[in-house]
Subunit: 506 residues, 4 copies
Amino acid sequence: MQKQATLWGAAFDSKPSGAVIAFAAGRDTAGISPADSMLISYDLWVNQAHILMLAKAGIVPLSDAKKILDGLITIQKFASKNKFYLSSTYEDVHSAIESTLEKLIGPEAAGKLHTARSRNDQVNTDMRLYMRDQVLQLVSQIIPLVKTLAGESKKHIHTLMPGFTHHQHAMVTTWGHTLAAFAGELTRDATRLVQWIRLYNDNPLGASAGYGTSISIDRSYTAKLLGFDGVELNSMESLMNRWEPEAALAFDISVFMNHLSSLSETIILFSTPEFGMIRVADAYSTGSSIMPQKKNPDTLEVMKGKASYVVGQLTALMELGKGNFIGYNRDSQWTKYILMDVIRESAHAPVVMQGVIETLHVYKKNMEIWCHKNFIGAASVMEQLIDIYGLPMRQAKQVVEKAVKYSRGSDVVTYAALQKACKEDGIRIHFSSKQIKDWQNPKKIISLTTSFGGPGPSHVRESIDALEKQVTVLAKWHQKTCARIESAKELLKKDIAACMEEYEKT
Amino acid sequence: MQKQATLWGAAFDSKPSGAVIAFAAGRDTAGISPADSMLISYDLWVNQAHILMLAKAGIVPLSDAKKILDGLITIQKFASKNKFYLSSTYEDVHSAIESTLEKLIGPEAAGKLHTARSRNDQVNTDMRLYMRDQVLQLVSQIIPLVKTLAGESKKHIHTLMPGFTHHQHAMVTTWGHTLAAFAGELTRDATRLVQWIRLYNDNPLGASAGYGTSISIDRSYTAKLLGFDGVELNSMESLMNRWEPEAALAFDISVFMNHLSSLSETIILFSTPEFGMIRVADAYSTGSSIMPQKKNPDTLEVMKGKASYVVGQLTALMELGKGNFIGYNRDSQWTKYILMDVIRESAHAPVVMQGVIETLHVYKKNMEIWCHKNFIGAASVMEQLIDIYGLPMRQAKQVVEKAVKYSRGSDVVTYAALQKACKEDGIRIHFSSKQIKDWQNPKKIISLTTSFGGPGPSHVRESIDALEKQVTVLAKWHQKTCARIESAKELLKKDIAACMEEYEKT
Amino acid sequence: MQKQATLWGAAFDSKPSGAVIAFAAGRDTAGISPADSMLISYDLWVNQAHILMLAKAGIVPLSDAKKILDGLITIQKFASKNKFYLSSTYEDVHSAIESTLEKLIGPEAAGKLHTARSRNDQVNTDMRLYMRDQVLQLVSQIIPLVKTLAGESKKHIHTLMPGFTHHQHAMVTTWGHTLAAFAGELTRDATRLVQWIRLYNDNPLGASAGYGTSISIDRSYTAKLLGFDGVELNSMESLMNRWEPEAALAFDISVFMNHLSSLSETIILFSTPEFGMIRVADAYSTGSSIMPQKKNPDTLEVMKGKASYVVGQLTALMELGKGNFIGYNRDSQWTKYILMDVIRESAHAPVVMQGVIETLHVYKKNMEIWCHKNFIGAASVMEQLIDIYGLPMRQAKQVVEKAVKYSRGSDVVTYAALQKACKEDGIRIHFSSKQIKDWQNPKKIISLTTSFGGPGPSHVRESIDALEKQVTVLAKWHQKTCARIESAKELLKKDIAACMEEYEKT
Amino acid sequence: MQKQATLWGAAFDSKPSGAVIAFAAGRDTAGISPADSMLISYDLWVNQAHILMLAKAGIVPLSDAKKILDGLITIQKFASKNKFYLSSTYEDVHSAIESTLEKLIGPEAAGKLHTARSRNDQVNTDMRLYMRDQVLQLVSQIIPLVKTLAGESKKHIHTLMPGFTHHQHAMVTTWGHTLAAFAGELTRDATRLVQWIRLYNDNPLGASAGYGTSISIDRSYTAKLLGFDGVELNSMESLMNRWEPEAALAFDISVFMNHLSSLSETIILFSTPEFGMIRVADAYSTGSSIMPQKKNPDTLEVMKGKASYVVGQLTALMELGKGNFIGYNRDSQWTKYILMDVIRESAHAPVVMQGVIETLHVYKKNMEIWCHKNFIGAASVMEQLIDIYGLPMRQAKQVVEKAVKYSRGSDVVTYAALQKACKEDGIRIHFSSKQIKDWQNPKKIISLTTSFGGPGPSHVRESIDALEKQVTVLAKWHQKTCARIESAKELLKKDIAACMEEYEKT
């Protein structure tokens, strides 16, 4: 969408940011990198951990291990400058790295790297590390999004708006209460991602082709070097389940995207001219190639489109996992691409939504105006009849329904109508015209709404406080988990150094 | 399938049990009960908790509460004898119960039951209780299935068989190792169900139509009476998310069914005449309506069919959750039926699979025979060349590949072939003909396989021990959770009694 | 939803009809009949055709055939009075009918009915007939729905409304043009159903278990008796493809339901208070259990929910069809239930939508009012600049974009703003203030829109005329196809009579 | 998989071809081009047709039209040499071409190209042309695949093999009969693609933003120039349905891929050592990175994986089409990527499968051997008892079931066992030991199987002849359709030339 100025935009105050463009542009003019380019850094990490383990276990001589480690570091340097290219000359990242290593240090030493493992366990380990990073990244983006929603929620604790059911006005609520509902959903989404790590942060390396090895490897040690919580208990599992962690992550992301799609739909409707309750900032909108006046909430439509996209991928992953005969089957390789597609399409989604929310303009008057219309206070009248006069709920409801009917032409239940209805139903209670008005006053309604979790301002604040505590716990977990992974990387460096030192001594 | 004797079965020793029939029969001659018939007991529970709370909070007079509670107990008695019928006279279980109550105790008192709530939060609460019970039921069935697999696994720790990749013989493994892999998958499935309860065991009751109430209800108290861990933080959430807990549970069950479908496929293939490695007991097989000799592993095929079925339902639930505008929308009612379909179709699956496994006949000889064929020991030869002679893995692999080619006509790598290959590749090592044979002896291979998680007998035992510990933790959690729910029910009874007592005093 | 009066409705003028209730009620209090109850009449038809063929081919003696035919007619009489019950005593409809036959005429004769066939081909034939009837039923319901849409479209050929893109006002259109778009979609949906019959109306009977028979049956004859166009070419196909016709029909229905869901969404939004453009008749709305003023477009939300539901079933059917080994597998039995679920949930959808459309109240003023706002005529101004002054489109667009910016505060491009913009861009053209107004007058815009397929009234009429011709062709095809099936039934009767007569002679 | 020699392959006779590699390699080291790079040639075509129409209608002066056409031809030349690059500098292919045109011929003329259209109708037209070509391409590849299957089928008309149901041996069939079943499925798949073109080959160009235009365009003329059968009847349709043709094509391809996945599964199982009935040629197999002896039917596993993949995309497309509000919405842009993913993943599938079939080695003896085992002739015995002695089918079946039981230990129903069973059931018939053997002789069984569509050799030949006729019709249709499109292109060239000539005259 870069040069869109030529096609639209003369009526815009500001233009979409790079992040928004990356999110919404799609694949029209941008291709997709080879899947394994996402795995280069992880494959190098796995290779280093593996050869270090082989060396320490005496399986590969220190001299060869040193050559391999030196070679891997050279490749890593290239890779970090984006100068390690994957091309169809190589079958995959594993052979690309091994072949390059061979060129660098010769076949004698390089040929020892793949000892006691198979590409099966290697790719599973790479993917596990890649997915773990994606999960952590997503959690780190959801946390500030929740905070933004919580912050805006607090700001709009008194911003009256109609609450909907069936797209119709139901009862009075606030924009703050509405935003808090979404904040709650997303907090649970982040928690689900934490659960993912609890289930899948185990080491597949050393499963080899699924049937172990007679070479005396140390899988606990590579687990430590790779920041895993433990070792997978059965060498067949990761190969047979090469769809399960992928599907679980795709499910978690699908639910998250569904939540964003629902928030998107709400903002899209609120920003129609008819609703006129909200304006999406120009930076999150686009124009038309032929209609000069248009400002479209494209980013939010894209959010909905991507939600559908990821559900499709979830379906594919689940189908890939059905009815498989034991052992590795090549079909499962497609899980790699599908999962990466899920990641690519959902990337930036939290960041973009955060930006949309931060820059949203709320037309408070247009929101409130509907809180005086269409008998939106009828349920409040009913509740007062129950609360003050002890009417059975069913009777109260029926009498107010009738009163609504008799108030036709008005926007609120009228004194006369309620009196008529009460009389008809044989209800003898006394109320004033002022009371009836009062019960239907939206500000009053909200202040009367005292149930936990409801739109009453103090209760919205209370629930946001609770959410913020949950988010703090999540943030701490995130920090701790990242730190653990960082220290695994440190351990790897330290042990490589120690190993080298030992070699120098020999 | 009851009277199948007329159609097939004369060649059978034993017939399918009732559980198997219920699982495999499908809906040919059995209809499906109204969805809400699953919710009667939960709706009664919710009603009792709600009216007790209303009474204790002074919202409904004790006298009316007593009548309502008496009426509910009467209905409960009918229901427990399956004499409370749902028919299309009533819109749903909620109106059926309230209408019946009205008949029993009159409109004055009955009309107060629905105070400060809506059918929206009521059905969500019913469903949450229903789903929680289903989760607990499923966990309680997966645990013995895992134990059965673990037990069989230990029995077959030395039962040699070919390990497969790509449906081809790869390396030697054991039936015990194979079963242990499935046991591991299913243990994780049970853990995932525990996570479900951690995310969703909160009280939706009191959210009313999504916008709370001005009547001073006590949501924490009903939470306690219903065995919830807490109260949902935002009254809009459960209505807007009336697909999320359903989808999460459908996902968990889909993954579980996929695992069973994979185990089924494996047994189906192993029990073909060509494989001849396994026989499914007659009790889990069916015959043909025209081919007199047939015994078909129907139950396992049904397992696969149901796995596909539940994935479809997951997809529907996810799509139902996309792009919804805020507030309750009627579309979400379909989530109830879909989730119940998922439950119905997967019910009995663990029990049936447990039975299949327990009664499976393993033809050990037919399994082992293939461990002497098709160069299945080639990888072992390669590993020995690495391990004993320190050949680089790549060199070892290449020389064995050549040796395989030169051994054509034989089932194992021959001494002559390996010598020829070594010579060709300039590898000067000494080995005897006996050594070569030894390296390819399947028993020897398994005993040499010492990597953690591999098919080496001690390692299979080790991993099963670890699994059994996990299962013990799960079983304790299950027991504790059930006990908590039971004590919530006790509390309800106690508090009802106290309330009645107080009423008697007045 | 029958007795809903007790829960809501006091504010309603009219109540939902039985058809609407059946559509929207769901499965709360209504169960689902055994799947095979849908197949009773088809199975009897197939049985009659089969035994008649066996008799005519001399495979079964006339005397036995007569007994069987008499027995089947007896059963048919019971069935036509809904007195032929399926229960779990029988495995399926096939064994229920055969067993009942056995009771009626004894095992000697009854035991000959199943000669030269298997339940595999029998159920496939039953299902094919069932699906064919469903397709014809659906086509017969879509045709009047299209006619209704076409009729309403013509009525509203001048009913101005904003055309949307991105939920924002784009250009002026009419309600007639909008309805015509949906009419077109649904006509194509009906055509797709015709294509289904073209692909699948072939006879599977006689495939037996998939491998034919040595008994000299006449499959062409049973094809004729069952109204098929021909015989399936390969006896394995229908068994291996026992998901394909089901999936194809589920796809056709899913697309159709998606179209209805889109029409539903449009009406739902148009009937929000904010849009206020449309009112759904009370007969297609429901009330709330607690909010006395509510009227909810439930039927349309249900339409959306069911659209999601059927997509899930399509997914399940496709997954059931993946990677199957040759020959019948039991998994495929689930395709029967899934397809029937698709049928059940989509049944009545065209009828209900037809009712919604027929009773819709259109607030023309509220529609038109927006045609004077938000620069909706900007594109028209641009086109006039191109058309009258020959401005390059890009230049015209840019100058109008600027003019929109300079007209801020107004609802239309102002004379002054356009002049300023033209000056700025160095465009020297002359136009009057009146012209500018005129170009943005919605009536004028519509009358100027002369492109084929556009909202210009004569063109909407033209496209509806074309659609109506297509519908006439469809209706004729429908009539002809039904007649062919009817004559197959006549042939069956006639040939049975002839056969009996022949028997009497012997 | 190019340089795989380094990882595996020393035991192989031949290596995978380029086509196979392209199919099976996946996206490990190969990226995906920008989506719009697939549309360059179509967009140029559409642009030429559009400007020619504008010129002929007098909307754009001939002088400008000439410049534009010249510019487009220049771009086309670059594109044909793969030198027209899409980059993120441009929003999409439409703006890339228009911007380049602007550079080539200046803004004055270039700015007139986009007159009376929008990117909405432009991209829909591009996609329709792209999809039409893909459909034709697919049909052209399925035809020779069917022919190959038909040819092999004829060759193996006498190749005896066990027919399966439930993965168990059911009755005798032939490899020819089996292949013919698949040929039939694929012929229907091709027919379905023809139906796609019947439904969707209409011109969306000129719908503009969905609401037509006041500029007097000629949509019938552009329809002719683009090879469309007609013009879409409603300008809103193609925008609102920007998922339907995509979903319909994805469905057609999903069904096709499911059929290939089923054929793949069959070959995979047949090529296990246990079945040993078939060998996949080396050229369609791959080796292992660690197991020297392995030859894996990767291509066929990939076929299964891709079948799952495309079903996921179908699901995504269907979900994208649910509940959309009228008019264009940006979500629908994702349908472009998803459809292209479907095309990319299924590309080559027919060609690869054709190669697999052509090079398949069939171990006839291993197939036939099972035709003498496991009572596979029991159904034949039953049919003979019916056919020769007129036993009721149920009685015949029961007596043979018993005979099977009494023949335990044998592979066929023995004379003694059948006699014992007959006696037990009071059946007094005479048969010889030779007869019993004869009835169970597989060659004899096949020759006795005379039902239409069955494995009887003459009937397989008959059905293949019928299929080949269908294929001839398809091939003619394909040729005719391609010719029509070609002549549209000729017309475009001719009319451009005429237009230029006219311009030269002026």
